[in-house]
């Protein structure tokens, strides 16, 4: 068991810098998820931890030891690749035991570990098959099994579920959560699926353009995002963002005008005082909208599409000036077929961001 520490890690490919000074503390036994849009450097950062890429600058520590110059195989990590990377010409059993056999591990111990991994992942019946003869989900299990037999200190997963269909993805997500609670090993998991991130993580690391935007517990990131990017990234459906301009600002609060909502005004508590006339953005999560008159600012909406899911419904609406909003409502049978809706924003649950996306309240 081991924690992982990154200190000011920088990565350049030739002249292109893709990781800009990442620092991070992963506790022993923790499940940490890297999320972020495509190309933000999640895989690169993971591969730096694995040792498959060298850091251009900075330090990587595993279990308190500096590992910058330690061979990947000696870092006590095991990695599961997005493409599975199984050995195509070997059976499942050989895939699992290959590394141990090549390193002269005693046969009984190898067999015991392979057997245990097969049981944990329920792939006993597949042991004599080749990867070609397996479904995507089965291949993924084998890939995870190959990581388990190494008995690593740290598991690294690079989007392990992204090649699976939606149903299997949910199933494997549960399996991975079970694996973590059974083994109790440190895991670093890369995904761009924020549901996976929310459900699996003890701690989420949000990355953008090679920078760590925020680190925190899933619900903390959801309730208290540091900036507009994190606010928009966490949560599904996404947070609504409405353009606004500051009309008046006093100590501890600001009144803003929602420019695309027919000039509706709302007064929000702020910690960092914006100046009058500033362009700002008001953020409201779909589920925080209230019925007309029950919040602090009513806005009139034209309904484009309404998705009625039985327990809740998602209303995709726009205003006269064309701003798109998503409103989540408790399901009400009488609302089916409705064309207009008035929703109300509660000031206590609204977020305010400045033009650079910095959080103001």
């Amino acid at each position: 068991m081991a924690g992982v520490t990154l200190k000011n890690v920088v990565k350049r490919f030739g002249s292109v810098q893709v990781i800009h000074g990442a620092s991070l503390e992963v506790e022993d036994g923790e499940f940490v998820v890297f999320v972020g849009p495509s190309g933000c450097g999640k895989s690169t950062l993971l591969r730096i931890v694995a040792g498959l890429e060298d850091a251009s600058e900075g330090e990587i520590e595993i279990d308190g030891m500096l590992v910058n110059d330690v061979e990947p195989a000696d870092r006590g990590i095991a990695m599961v690749f997005q493409s599975y990377a199984l050995y195509p010409h070997m059976t499942v059993e050989q895939n699992l035991s290959f590394g141990l056999r090549m390193n002269g591990n005693p046969r009984e111990d190898t067999n015991r570990r392979v057997q245990k991994a097969a049981e944990i992942l329920r792939i006993n019946e597949l042991m004599k098959r080749r990867p070609k003869q397996l479904s995507g989900g089965q291949r993924q299990r084998v890939a995870i099994g190959r990581a388990i037999v190494r008995e690593p200190e740290v598991f690294l997963f690079d989007e392990p579920l992204s090649n699976l269909d939606a149903e299997l993805r949910v199933q494997m997500r549960v399996e991975i959560a079970r694996l973590h609670s059974e083994l109790g090993t440190t895991m670093i998991y890369v995904t761009h699926d924020q549901t996976e991130a929310m459900t699996l993580a003890d701690k989420i690391v949000v990355l953008r353009d090679g920078k760590i935007e925020q680190v925190g517990k899933p619900l903390d990131l959801y309730d208290d995002p540091a900036n507009q990017f994190v606010a928009g990234f966490m949560g599904s459906p996404k947070m609504n963002f409405m353009e606004a301009s500051v009309k008046s600002a006093s100590n501890g609060s600001a009144t803003v005008k929602l420019v695309n909502q027919g000039g509706a005004m709302i007064t929000l508590p702020v910690s960092d005082g914006p100046a009058v006339g500033d362009r700002v953005t008001v953020g409201v999560r779909p589920e925080h909208f209230r019925a007309a008159g029950q919040g602090d600012c009513d806005i009139d909406l034209n309904i484009d599409v309404a998705e009625h899911l039985g327990s809740t419904s998602y209303i995709y609406a726009n205003t006269k000036s064309g701003e798109q909003l998503i409103v989540e409502r408790e399901e009400s049978r009488s609302e089916v077929g409705l064309e207009k809706l008035t929703a109300s924003i509660p000031a206590q649950q609204a977020f305010l961001f400045d033009a650079q996306g910095k959080r103001l309240n």
Binding site: F98, G99, R146, R150
Partner: protein, 286 residues
Amino acid sequence: MRARNRIAYGFLAPYLLIFAVFWIWPIIYSFYLSFLSTRAVPWTWAPHMNWGRLWIDPAFWNALRNTLVILFIQVPVMIALATLLAVLLNSQLLKARGIMRFAFFAPVVVGEVAYAAVFRLMFNADFGVINKILTGVGLPAVSWFSNPTAAMALIIMAVTWRWVGYNAIIILAGLQSIPDDVYEAATLDKVSKTKQFFFITLPLLRPIILVCVVLSVIGTMQLFAEPFLITNRGGPGGATETLGLFLYRQGFTVLNFGYASAVAYTIAGLAIIISLINFWLGRDPK
């Protein structure tokens, strides 16, 4: 037949005609010829003569032995070298990879006569560069063209030089189809580069190497240009006479087309049998 198909066959007709006249017909006709006595005009039906003669003709057995010796030494050596070369050409460390790949492929494009002339000069017993080097490092000079064993070695080296790059390029294509992450997984499994080569690369290349072996077997069974041009028509004294050369001599020097046809069918038959054995030996273990 639909009108469209008829038009299509109309366009194909010239090709099919040429194919039939210059390909199919000679194949059939030479089979028929192998049952004729063609030593004197008029040719007469003598079904046992040519095929019977094969068994007892020492010149045929000599050519067969030479061909098989070349085959069993040259093909394995060349394929091993080609595999090694492919790995080197695939290396990230190699500079100017494109030029290097072309350089090793180039011998295939060079005309046979030109390449034979260069080899004759290089291996010339008196002033060739090879003997200069050998004597330079204190070894005795070799009579490449008058010593039977040396002449055989010369043929093997020449054929290998000519075709090794070609096979390396084919194997290189196979190498590039192996995904990087398989090697990364092996690296994480603490498998050394050498073991990766023997336990991952080679098994995954097996189908491609098999194709190269079979193509080389077929090529070597028909070997003609090198012994004809480099060692002076199979010299010294028939020591490098191959089946291809023997066939040529019977057909176009002696003009005994019946016997030459029987030899041709023997060559094709042996090539097929050896190839099938290769496929069988290299089959996917289940």
